[in-house]
């Protein structure tokens, strides 16, 4: 992998230069939260950690028209615009790698493939806050899945080139880059030490697949199911959630049918309901169990790593505190103070 450095005052020209590839998107502050938005380099929040919605929205939008039907013919005109996404942290890039493996396994999803093809990924290093636990999931650094990756050392940034396309983008911005010296490397090592020492949230994911499997009949699920609101927030904000639904809609104006594809959630009641009204997962506890089994066991057997990247989105989003941290601690029979463990819900 090739490594360069970029002077701090060249960062904005560097990002503007990348606009030669496509629209520039990055983390922008919106009230007390952060979102990925199309903006000028000066508007980006370089200190931002997790956005409300993860970067999966660029690869499969929350809702789009997958197919159109008119005069007995189907048409697929999904053409994503070319984008440069700046500010993806290592956890986010790990999640996209899971996304990539998932959507190209057995059958390649053409919509994903096109979005991937149209996107330049520019990563950015970060310093964790109270809700980050990527250190525990082994996703605090990243070696693949980005085109360019910037590590912020204060007065300068280190630039990794991670793909042939990243290399190609140097035609646009190579003029801002300089070769690295020994001092840059030693500063990087010191930065890594400082960063790794900053993790405050500790969770032990060791042996989780077995523990989740053995806990299939644990009363924890029932307790959690009673508190869960089935709102689906956890699945929408999770960067590795992939499920979707397809629905046909009639467009009156154009007199054509649209097959719409949108994000869907396994915690919704209708998720496993079939024609005739039978529901394979009627109980909320069953649906939550599916989510956590799939994240912590399913991906483990399929890809050798859990589908949690420690971004902390479920930690800050769930209204009743059902998240990877509290569930893992409850299943390990460790102490947890999550809201759901204290709720006394009678009949749900």
């Amino acid at each position: 992998m090739r490594l360069f450095k970029l002077k701090r005052n060249n960062l904005f020209p560097f990002l503007r230069g990348l606009e030669g590839f496509g629209e520039l998107w990055g983390p922008v502050r919106k009230g007390r939260k952060v979102v990925y938005a199309r903006a000028k380099p000066e508007e980006f929040d370089l200190e931002a950690l997790r956005t409300i919605i993860p970067a999966k929205k660029f690869f499969l939008p929350p809702r789009f028209t997958a197919l159109k039907f008119r005069d007995n013919t189907w048409e697929d005109d999904y053409r994503p615009r070319r984008k440069v996404i700046f500010g993806l942290h290592p956890c986010e890039i790990h999640a996209l790698n899971i996304y990539h493996r998932f959507y190209t396994r057995l059958f390649t999803d053409p919509y994903y493939e096109r979005s991937k093809e149209a996107t330049l990924i520019v990563g950015l290093s970060c310093v964790p806050d109270d809700h980050c636990f990527c250190y525990a999931t082994g996703t605090s650094t990243v070696n693949e899945g980005f085109d360019l990756f910037l590590t912020d050392l204060g007065d300068r940034l280190l630039v990794w080139v991670g793909s042939p396309r990243g290399e190609e983008s140097l035609k646009l911005v190579g003029k801002f880059l300089e070769d690295v010296e020994q001092k840059d490397i030693s500063d990087y090592v010191a930065w890594r030490k400082r960063r790794d020492a900053a993790f405050k949230l500790k969770v032990d994911l060791d042996g989780m697949p077995e523990i989740v499997s053995f806990s299939y009949d644990s009363p924890v699920w029932e307790k959690m199911g009673r508190a869960c609101l089935s709102c689906g927030t956890c699945t929408m904000v999770c960067p590795t959630c992939t499920c979707f639904d397809l629905e046909d809609e009639y467009d009156l104006k154009r007199a054509e049918m649209h097959r719409e594809r949108f994000w869907y959630s396994c915690v919704f009641r209708e998720y496993s309901m079939v024609a005739g009204g039978h529901n394979f997962r009627e109980a909320r506890s069953e649906r939550l169990k599916l989510w956590y089994t799939h994240k912590l066991v399913g991906f483990m057997s399929e890809y050798g790593a859990p589908a949690c990247v420690g971004c902390g989105r479920c930690v800050v989003s769930c209204p009743v505190g059902i998240n990877v941290i509290s569930v893992v601690r409850a299943l390990r029979q460790e102490r947890t103070t999550a809201l759901w463990t204290k709720m006394e819900v009678k009949d749900a």
Partner: protein, 285 residues
């Protein structure tokens, strides 16, 4: 920078097909024979699938749902489906006439591992609509009769009127090279000439070599437990007991996630599972 080229192949794109024949099998189950409209695809697609695979049937404005193929690849040219009127899509399908269009995607799913069954005795147990996917494998085995050992087919229905492919099985009963036993739970009109009782009562006729038998079951969820007990009693190993399951599916390709059970996607890891899978993945049946 480089131009983006798109593949024309989109596995979400349905393929137009024509209903060439339809008739009612029972009060609420209809049989459809369907032919792909693109002549270049008819033979390659209808001769290369495995018994036990399914297809997504698509009707614009209504949606898409999975249906098991009830025809066999050993008789290519047409796809056959056996469909119960139960929801929005199937109600719309029942309004279609012969020569109307519908749209297909697939075939999807793992299907039965036919190559592993070669040289073995085969024992089929079908209940109600479960006859649909099993008919595919049964006809395949009959068309390649030399490849298999003894063949037993046990089929249960609620009443004689509810028995799918009744006439077809009456004729197959005449064949000397395999054993077909039919039973009904109730016989309100009193003219049923064969066994009465639940399908497990037919196991008394079964004489197979258990260590070299592939057993296949499909039917309503309540049936599995009792039939599997009978298989185990016969001494058939877990890995040779196959069952085909159903779930809600939107893509058929292991993407939409709606058929997921534990860590298995029923659409790509199934719909055919062994008893070993079922014991290891909680919630499959």
């Amino acid at each position: 920078m480089h131009e983006i080229l798109y593949h024309q192949d989109n596995p979400y794109m349905p393929e137009r097909a024509r209903i060439v024949r339809k008739y009612d099998l029972t009060g609420d189950v209809r049989f459809f024979q369907v032919r792909l409209c693109n002549p270049d695809k008819v033979f390659p697609v209808t001769s290369s699938y495995s018994p036990g695979q399914f297809m997504m049937i698509s009707l614009p404005y209504v949606g898409e749902a999975p249906f098991s193929i009830t025809s066999t690849p050993s008789r290519p040219g047409l796809f056959e489906f056996c469909i119960r009127k139960v929801g929005r899509l199937t109600s719309r399908l029942f309004q279609l006439e012969e020569n109307d269009f519908l749209w297909l995607r697939g075939p999807f799913g793992n299907g039965f591992p036919v190559e592993k069954m070669i040289g073995k005795d085969l024992l089929f147990v079908a209940g109600g609509l479960g006859a649909a996917p099993l008919r595919s494998l049964l006809l395949y085995a009959l068309d390649n009769r030399d490849l298999f050992g003894k063949l037993f087919y046990l089929h249960g229905a609620r009443t004689p009127r509810d028995m799918l492919f009744r006439e077809e099985f009456f004729q197959l009963k005449q064949r000397k090279d395999f054993r077909c036993y039919l039973t009904v739970d109730e016989d309100p009109e009193g003219d049923w000439p064969f066994d009465k009782g639940v399908v497990t009562s037919l196991f008394k006729y079964v004489k197979v070599n258990p260590r070299n038998t592939a057993a296949v079951v499909c039917g309503p969820p309540v049936m599995y437990k009792y039939v599997v007990q009978e298989f185990i009693k016969l001494g058939i190993p877990d890995a040779n007991i196959y069952m085909t399951l159903e779930r809600k599916m939107k893509c058929g390709m292991g993407k939409c996630g709606q058929c997921v059970v534990g860590h298995k996607y029923v659409c790509v890891d199934g719909p055919v599972f062994t008893l070993w899978d079922v014991k290891n993945v909680k919630g499959l049946i």
